[in-house]
């Protein structure tokens, strides 16, 4: 259509991905990208909320519950993202991640701890060789309101300090203004700056507001090379919700069906109880498929949920509940 449509920078080709032609063309230039995203099938809010509420009634008992609790613990990105974070706080968190329940050392460790870039050196030192990854937010988290230079510098601080994963935020202002090309190119630039670190792209679904936008942002991030699509920063309400995660799980499932490549999903914020976590796992199992039931492909961005998971795990093993004081507060 418009000859002035700007060609877009493309994600670096990796050995594993050869996109089918219709997807390779989707992001060739701004006009194509816009057409592709606006041409995705809509999401009916009544229908998706009914489906999510229906799946949330699954009754997970006995052996399947214990399996779910262990899996959920191993998927936690234990998070502290406060202005008041200190090296002491981060060390405590790292210890908790490696040994969530000292009374039951067979409790799995969490997937990662998630901190601000300046806390990465502390976290890396503490977690050395533990199998727990370090994840760092970057790119002017949580608002994303800065220049690309600042975002790249922010990312570089964390990557140079040895982070395993980067959690970036998209420019929601650009997305809502319809400037999809900007969002796309920024993700590509940060992905390049990540080196070997896996990139989680935070859509901040609470600010995108509609399920249609969540689906578009998910595809935009996947096209730009996101390893994970992540719901929220945790600083905006609503954070993760089941129907939003349904849309994102469907997106990675469709992505795999079309490209053969499996990408990951991370809900963050608002997941406080073991029951919440198990509902998400049911959605993972039945919407995306059992091959996503793996910490490599699904994470929980959370802090308080870990202690409830531990308490429920103990209740399964002991046959009774113990008080909150039997679980460490870190």
């Amino acid at each position: 259509m418009s000859p002035a449509s700007k060609d877009l920078k493309q994600p670096e080709a990796t050995a594993t991905t050869i996109l089918p032609a219709h997807l390779a063309d989707a992001a060739a230039d701004e006009t194509s990208l816009r057409r592709f995203l606006l041409g995705l099938p809509g999401v009916d809010p009544v229908g998706i909320e009914m489906r999510a509420a229906g799946l949330a009634t699954r009754s997970i008992k006995r052996a399947s519950k214990l399996a779910a609790l262990d899996l959920a613990i191993s998927m936690v990105d234990l998070t502290t993202l406060e202005g008041a974070d200190t090296p002491g706080k981060v060390r405590n968190l790292a210890r908790k991640a490696m040994l969530p329940d000292p009374d039951y050392p067979d409790t799995p460790h969490t997937a990662a701890i998630c901190v601000y870039p300046d806390m990465v050196p502390t976290a890396v030192a503490e977690l050395q060789g533990s199998g727990v990854n370090v994840a760092s937010v970057a790119s002017a988290f949580p608002s994303g309101r800065s220049s690309l230079e600042v975002k790249l510098a922010d990312t570089k601080i964390a990557v140079d300090a040895g982070t395993d994963e980067i959690d970036m935020v998209i420019d929601r202002g650009a997305f809502l203004a319809g400037d999809y090309g900007t969002v796309f190119e920024q993700i590509i630039a940060i992905k390049q700056a990540c080196g070997n670190a896996r990139l989680k792209v935070i859509l901040e679904t609470g600010e995108l507001a509609t399920y249609d936008n969540v689906r578009r942002a998910s595809w935009l991030a996947l096209l730009a090379g996101a390893d994970f699509i992540k719901t929220s920063t945790g600083k905006i309400s609503p954070a993760a919700t089941l129907p939003v995660v349904h849309v994102m799980l469907q997106a990675v499932k469709d992505w795999k069906a079309q490209t053969g490549e499996q990408r990951a999903v991370k809900p963050a914020g608002g997941i406080r109880t073991a029951k919440d976590a198990i509902r998400y796992l049911v959605a993972v199992n039945e919407v995306a498929g059992p091959e996503w039931l793996d910490p490599y492909y699904f994470r929980f961005g959370a802090s308080s949920v870990l202690n409830d998971l531990i308490m429920q795990r103990r209740a399964q093993l002991d046959g009774h509940y113990s008080g909150a004081d039997y679980v460490t507060v870190d």
Binding site: G42, G47, K65, A68, Q250, P290
Partner: protein
């Protein structure tokens, strides 16, 4: 990781199933003069309980009791007092909801998830809704002084035993009529638990009478000279016969019969939700729903990919023990019904349609059928014209909206239809053009006591629910008012 959900069975002890149940006539449970009938648990194929059935003489007693109750008590009560009884029944259904859900699942075979989350709450809602109308009949918009008809004879099917009882009893009572009702012979239990609730609510004797037995009892009831109103939900064949038998009697009659609902998917639909809606439309209650969306019409431009998505999703449905809280699709109500379904499926194969069935494992005992989809069906095939009344979807394609309307309307039935499009103007245009009593826009199988339900053509006439549902139980003739 493969994650098997551990069995999560609801406790059958909650139902407290008795060894034998009696019909409910004139305010008490009485031995029927007919032979005992066993009722089978479709989930296991084993005997669940035994029910004493009635003969014509018992039907006569029940109708006379209903007449007496109508003349002496019920028609004399102010509407507000009738409403109090209905509210009391509604509350008791809610209070005993878990027990009712288990009874219904054991007797009918539908999953506990559905009885718990749909059948029982919806039955309570129906009583609540009509309780509110009992003292407001003059505000229905049906004239200044609508009056009750008298004694209503009602026959209900086995697919929603408790809910259909509520659909029939609640409006009849709210309007001031008394009732003699017959449940289906394969599912008599939940309405007999409802009879306990009715007795506990101190409803005057004879206002609600429940007679048990097979079709002969229903026939004796609906042809009884002492009834003023006939309400029947069931097959079109029986409905047709009833109309012949009752012609000229002057009795008010409503029929809610079969259907072959079209579920129409346009290329611009919200596809993932349309998939869910199709599943809800045809696999809800194992497809044994008169308004099931049993004919899928997909726009040809998206058909292949869409049907592939649908199959993938159907593959994840959990079929099995109806008492397990994680079961999505339960048992077919009876061996006879399972036989009727498979016979029609054989006809579909013989006529050249392609059959796909979910690979889900099925329990050894009980009456089960894997969710199935026929593709490459043509409108002339029996599977595209006749009501299968089972978890079997027949799929056809269309090219333009006009063709979709023509194909959807090309059926002797006209009960339900679904339209899936993100374009509001198209949805409204389709709704105006489709000859169906119920049309769902971007959803399917949703019910509300305030929304009237009923069919066009051979799907019956008369409406249930909402003000027009009450109309079926009221004399609104202007001359009657003047007189």
């Amino acid at each position: 990781m493969e994650w098997e959900y551990s069995p999560a069975p609801e406790s059958s002890a909650i139902a407290d199933i008795k060894d034998r149940y009696l019909p409910f006539i004139d305010g008490s449970f009485k031995e029927g003069s007919g032979e005992d009938r066993d009722t089978i648990n479709p989930g296991t194929g084993e005997r669940l309980s035994t029910v004493s059935t009635v003969e014509a003489s018992d039907v006569d007693r029940a109708v006379k009791a209903a007449r007496r109750a109508y003349q002496d008590v019920w028609s004399q009560l102010p509407g507000a007092e009738r409403g109090k009884y209905l509210f009391r029944i509604a509350r008791a259904i809610a209070e005993r909801s878990r027990e009712l859900a288990v009874v219904e699942t054991l007797d009918n075979g539908k999953p506990i998830k559905e009885t718990r989350d749909f059948d029982v709450p919806a039955a309570a809602q129906h009583f609540f809704y009509h309780a509110g109308w009992a003292d407001k009949l003059q505000h229905l918009g049906l004239g200044p002084a609508p009056r009750p008809l008298g004694v209503a004879g009602q026959v209900i099917p086995w697919n929603f035993p408790l809910l259909m009882a509520a659909w029939k009893i609640a409006p009849a009572l709210a309007a001031g009529n008394t009732v003699v009702i017959k449940p289906a012979e394969t599912t008599p239990l939940s309405i007999l638990v409802l009879a306990e609730i009715i007795a506990d609510a101190d409803l005057p004797p004879g206002v609600v009478n429940i007679v048990t037995g097979a079709g002969d009892v229903g026939s004796a009831l609906l042809n009884h000279s002492g009834i003023d109103k006939v309400a029947f939900t069931g097959s079109t064949a029986v409905g047709r016969r009833l109309q012949r038998e009752l012609a000229g009697t002057g009795r008010k009659i409503t029929l809610e019969l079969g259907g072959k609902g079209a579920n129409i998917i346009f290329e611009d639909a919200a596809q993932d939700q349309a998939v869910e809606g199709i599943i809800n439309g045809i696999f809800f209650n194992q497809g044994q729903v008169c308004c099931a969306g049993s004919r899928l019409l997909v726009q040809e431009s998206i058909a292949d990919e869409f049907i592939e998505r649908l199959k993938q999703r159907v593959e994840t449905l959990r079929v099995g023990d109806p008492m397990d809280k994680n079961t999505d699709v339960g048992a077919i109500n009876s061996e006879a019904q399972l036989g009727r379904i498979t016979a029609l499926m054989d006809a579909g194969l013989a006529e050249g349609a392609e059959l796909w069935s979910s690979s889900c494992p099925l329990p050894k005992n009980g009456f089960y059928l894997a969710p199935s989809i026929f593709t490459n069906a043509t409108p002339s095939m029996r599977i595209a014209r006749e009501e299968i009344f089972g978890p079997v979807l027949t799929t056809m394609t269309f090219r333009t909206p006009d063709e979709a309307v023509t194909k959807a309307n090309n059926s002797p039935y006209g009960l339900s239809a679904g339209v899936w499009t993100e374009k509001g103007s198209r949805a409204m245009g389709m709704a105006a053009a489709l000859r169906s009593g119920v049309i769902w826009d971007n959803t399917f199988n949703r019910f509300d006591p305030a929304a009237s339900f009923g069919g066009y053509k051979e799907s019956g006439f008369g409406r249930e629910g909402g003000p027009s549902g009450l109309d079926a139980y009221l004399d609104t003739d202007d001359e009657a008012v003047v007189r």
